[in-house]
Symmetry: C2
Subunit: 307 residues, 2 copies
Amino acid sequence: MHPIPSGTRDVLPDEMRELRALSNKLRQVFEDHGYGEVYTPTIEYDTPAIRLGGDAGVYRLFDDHGAVLQLRSDITVPLARVATTRYANVEPPLRFSAFAHVYRGVRPHRGQMREHLQAGCELIGSPSPEGTVEALTVLCRALDATGLRDYRIGLGDASMYPALMASMGVPVGRRQTLLDHLMDRNLVGLERDAEGLDPLLVEVPQRRGGPDVLDGLPGGEGLRRVHEDLAPDIAERVIFDLGLVRDLSYYTGSVFEVYDPSIGAPIGGGGRYDDLMGQLGRPMPAVGFQIGVSQLHEALATGERTA
Amino acid sequence: MHPIPSGTRDVLPDEMRELRALSNKLRQVFEDHGYGEVYTPTIEYDTPAIRLGGDAGVYRLFDDHGAVLQLRSDITVPLARVATTRYANVEPPLRFSAFAHVYRGVRPHRGQMREHLQAGCELIGSPSPEGTVEALTVLCRALDATGLRDYRIGLGDASMYPALMASMGVPVGRRQTLLDHLMDRNLVGLERDAEGLDPLLVEVPQRRGGPDVLDGLPGGEGLRRVHEDLAPDIAERVIFDLGLVRDLSYYTGSVFEVYDPSIGAPIGGGGRYDDLMGQLGRPMPAVGFQIGVSQLHEALATGERTA
């Protein structure tokens, strides 16, 4: 009776109260670090710029004037747009945060949500390593403020595998297939389709651990510098993960994900998008992260139950 | 460069901070009165029940499975749905609040917003007059908490004009036209299309003022009882408005709107919807209200500037 779309849910008062409290703690840390909250519209024009956020067209709308719109699928691209339009004459770096629902396509049978609440920060106009260090710091301080204790940060570099493929002369036509397997963490597919290529292409993305896994790799120095500049309590949460490739196409350098032993899926993630601002007309390096508020809530609740 | 859809806007940090503070004040009053917050999905099936919220199909979506969805156009119907599904075995009255964006069609050139944030309460299972009195009380206590001072409550009855037309034998085919003029506050159209009918049909909806304007009218006793049971400081804000017809079709009895001298449009409104729960399969009387958070913010800001 009165079903709601798969991948959506009703949040009832007890949980809602906890989600609000959690959001308020995150928001306070973001504000304390200078990241003022911005709200951008849920309905957006379906433009090439917006399509950079991925998942284009999953939720296409037609309004009463016949215009084609789509639902916000990401908070990074809209905040980057605000930086180019509303802050065009403001000296960078710019710091923004957002708390907004994003709408994404789902793969049936995986229990994925179509609508989920993200809390995130964007630091626009600050290069690596210092920008990346700041983003990771705000991310960890925010998680710390919620009481999450045992989380780890997986840290990789979105440019590393493409550079590796290029340096090893992988034919251009085969590169996207290998990348797609990485995004899906599909090792079997990767091994099959890297047949006949340098074995490093299968070995490197399985490397996880301390700074030594970076030795001799393109992009390794950049990741090492980020790690060295982190506060000790944050640095010790980092696990280098050379197979980490986030599935948004705009990432250019360091990428990261937050894992907690209490739940299987990442709680959040982010990375550098040093080309996106240029595509929007105001070239600047940038980095950002998002936290899934419901995922964080679930991790905290599970952690309490098992503590 | 990078336009956003008309009727939507970016909210920047200074304003966002104020909107959050305002929402928190409203939420605290709602909680204090027992109205726990519920979040329902932004994307809904396009069902007859959802269509009761009006504006059906203005934002129709097609997802990647081909299902037809639409954007939340109202918070009353989704909360009524939650009352029938998730609280099916809970003894009424049920009290819920919501803070959510609603998406509506716009009339060009009027500066109307397609996306706006509503804060509202629904009291499900409480008849008139006591339910209506409680809703008006929570509404006014919430507005009081924000510091709004000079607001007035327009109070009318959605059943009054239809009853008047019926009692005067207005041909059924002409009734909707007259009602449409009332909704548009179009007196010229009303006079034209009521030509040859009882002059009371034009005179009554222009009555505004104290309880004496109710004399001898169908529904007048009900409104008078509501007024008598209100706390004195709330009762003195009430102006009876017999032309008040809210444009959502589910209202059955008392309807009200909040006006503030500092802005032209209503800040909020609500009313009784005693038939809606039955249409959803769980017959119960109900009443609710919504506050436009941006409209309230504007009224407060304008009031401060002119004070």
